[in-house]
């Protein structure tokens, strides 16, 4: 298992390098990059100086390596400095956002808690809704509940979150007035009243994302349960005279959860991607909103960094899912 994990980690390195190269080249070679925006009236020697100041007169691979160094060595060093008060980074150049002139990672650090609170809760709620639906649908296959669950999942697959979110805003915020339309980032949770307020403003984004996730996960839960329900060990357990409850919720559920857990792990990075829409719709000030803001402001360092962070998350959770699968299922040993 350890060798497998190590091997997967080693494979992850070229994958990440490839992705970083794609992101770097995409932004670097794009016709819309800032170096092409220098007006033609600027004299050549000044242009040369501007290019040198931005480091743009170096060959592509040198710039790429410098960018990697900033990302993988300088920024973590600053992070460690921040945590332990050491001075590893010295005063090396950080990745600076062009719109705010602040280090990109500081901005991300400020915005990450918002994303994690809202999106994390949404995913958790989604999983908590999906598991019982999946279990019961499989237990009573083709029952009315199962048909309803299938319809719910199909609608959840098909209705994009930007539309379901908008519908929720129109129904619950505009017509019924139960929840606020926009998320108030300034709200501090200090007492019971402000906590309730926080819950109210989180309700709509959490519902939007949670339902979309629940649709997907409940399908996986159902098919995984169905696969296990017909296994021999289930008949054995019943033959031993175990209660239906024990058979379903202990024997079958435990085995069925194995693939579902990996699906849940695999879905975590994609919810960050989906969060871009939800955050923009509800005005949650998280990293998804930061990405759109940066794109609209042509803030390339911010865009590059955020896109790369999303890629790191995908690779990381793929790895976690693989390792989890091996840990949970003794039949699967990769070595």
């Amino acid at each position: 298992m350890l060798t497998f994990t190590l091997r997967r980690l080693l494979i992850a390195i070229p994958t990440l390098l490839f992705i970083s190269l794609v992101i770097f080249l995409l932004v670097d070679l794009a016709p819309g990059s800032p170096l092409s925006e220098i007006p033609l009236t600027v004299p050549p020697e000044v242009r040369q100086k501007m290019m040198a100041a931005l480091g743009a007169d170096q060959p592509v691979f040198v710039r790429y390596l410098l960018w990697l160094r900033q990302f993988f060595i300088v920024e973590p060093a600053y992070l460690l400095d921040g945590w332990f008060g050491t001075d590893l980074a010295g005063d090396q150049q950080r990745i600076l956002s062009w719109q705010s002139r602040a280090p990109v990672f500081t901005v991300i650090g400020q915005r990450l808690p918002q994303t994690l609170t809202v999106i994390g809760t949404a995913y958790l709620v989604g999983v908590l809704i999906a598991l019982p639906i999946g279990i019961y649908s499989a237990y009573r296959q083709y029952s009315a509940f199962d048909q309803l669950g299938t319809l719910f999942a199909m609608i959840g697959f098909s209705v994009p979150t930007f539309f379901s979110g908008t519908l929720f805003i129109i129904i619950f915020a505009v017509w019924l007035g139960w929840f606020p339309t926009k998320y108030d980032t300034q709200l501090q949770v200090t007492d019971w009243a402000s906590f309730l307020e926080q819950l109210r403003q989180m309700a709509l984004p959490v519902m939007t994302l949670g339902l979309a996730n629940a649709a997907v996960i409940s399908r996986y839960m159902r098919s995984s349960m169905l696969e296990n329900m017909t296994q021999d060990y289930v008949r054995t357990a019943r033959a031993k005279g175990m209660s239906e409850r024990t058979v379903v919720l202990k024997h079958v559920l435990r085995n069925s959860l194995i693939p579902v857990v990996t699906v849940i792990a695999l879905g975590i990075p994609s919810i960050f991607g989906g969060a871009i829409i939800t955050e923009n719709l509800f005005g949650v000030n998280g990293i998804g909103a930061a990405l759109i803001l940066a794109i609209n402001a042509s803030d390339l360092p911010m865009v590059q960094t955020l896109a790369f962070i999303f890629a790191v998350l995908i690779v990381l959770f793929n790895l976690i899912a693989d390792v989890l699968y091996g840990l949970l299922d003794p039949r699967i040993r990769y070595d």
């Binding site: 794609v22 819309g32 199909m154 697959f157 539309f163 865009v303 999303f310 890629a311 995908i314």
Partner: protein, 307 residues
């Protein structure tokens, strides 16, 4: 007297065509039939609709006078903030949305099938091509698409004009970022197919690889590719509307359903129907396409068919 039985022997019943069997299985899937009906209606509405519903072009002054009208006989879906007929705009937008979905899917499927066949058939290329596929699967798609649109939109628009430019860019971007599923499915099928006896027979009589692939392997991967293609249309339509929804898709005078929804957002509180119509259209299209894919999957699987 002995004529009749002889004739019956001489005219054996024609074997049922596989397409007929597929169709009869497809028909038993209620959701799939519903999806096919809805999708056909939607396609007809956006293709033929503009010929049937062709309101006169209003002058600016007249259009200003009929801004934000509720649904009426003259404007069945009302008008928008610039006095444009919403029904007409919905039909124009639907044409673009569906076109994006189908063209992007076609690009993805052609490329994915090519990669899948090559990787499955030529052992030497299998490793590298599948690594490439894995790497593409690890790319963060929405952020990447947004970056691509942001960086290339103006340049392509200046070459091809804003409408065609946006269309080409978005279709191409979605196409090259969504071929991976098709490639994986096709590769798996090809790996199994190329070990079959008939492929061996073809090879033993000296058929060239390209002939074996075109004649013996490709027809057998059609069914998984068709399923992947149907689901790919839904995926592409959603991706395009996400881009448009975030304001990085099509220009407002060349709208898609996603763009109409984005434009309607500002007026959501006063005129919610402007958000609901395009959203409903997207959702219905995707829902019906998903159901069709579901039905096709069952219908094309000979193990399920005929049960």
């Amino acid at each position: 007297m002995t004529d009749a039985p002889l004739q019956a022997v001489a005219k054996p019943e024609r074997p049922a065509s596989p397409w007929r069997a597929i169709w009869s299985q497809f028909r038993t899937h209620k959701g799939a039939v519903f999806g096919l009906v809805i999708l056909t209606l939607l396609v007809l509405a956006v293709v033929i609709g503009p010929y049937l519903w062709n309101p006169e072009k209003l002058t600016v002054a007249k259009a200003m006078a009929v801004r934000n009208r509720p649904p009426s006989l003259q404007f069945p879906l009302g008008t928008d903030q610039l006095g444009r007929d919403m029904l007409q705009r919905m039909m124009q937008a639907g044409k673009v949305s569906l076109a994006v979905g189908f063209v992007a899917m076609a690009i993805a499927i052609v490329f994915g099938t090519f990669v899948g066949v090559v990787a499955g058939y030529y052992k030497r290329l299998d490793g590298p091509l599948m690594r490439l596929t894995d790497m593409f699967l690890a790319l963060p798609l929405i952020p990447l698409l947004l970056v691509m649109v942001m960086l290339f939109r103006d340049r392509i628009a200046s070459v091809m004009g804003p409408e065609l430019g946006a269309f080409t860019l978005i279709v191409f971007a979605i196409g090259i970022t969504s071929w991976m599923q098709a490639a994986r499915v096709v590769r798996g099928e090809v790996l199994a197919l190329k070990e079959r006896e008939y492929v061996l027979a073809a090879r033993s009589i000296g058929a060239a690889p390209h002939r074996i692939i075109l004649r013996h392997i490709l027809p057998n991967v059609v069914s998984p590719v068709m399923v992947a293609a149907t689901l790919g249309v839904a995926e592409a339509i959603i991706t395009e509307s996400v881009l448009s929804f975030l304001g990085l898709g099509f220009p407002p005078d060349f709208p898609t359903w996603g763009r109409l929804l984005f434009d309607g957002l500002q007026y959501m509180q006063l005129y919610p129907e402007r958000v609901i119509w395009p959203g409903l259209a997207i959702s219905l299209t995707v829902l019906s396409v998903n159901y069709i894919g579901d039905g096709l999957r069952d219908a094309l699987d000979p193990r399920i068919r005929g049960r």
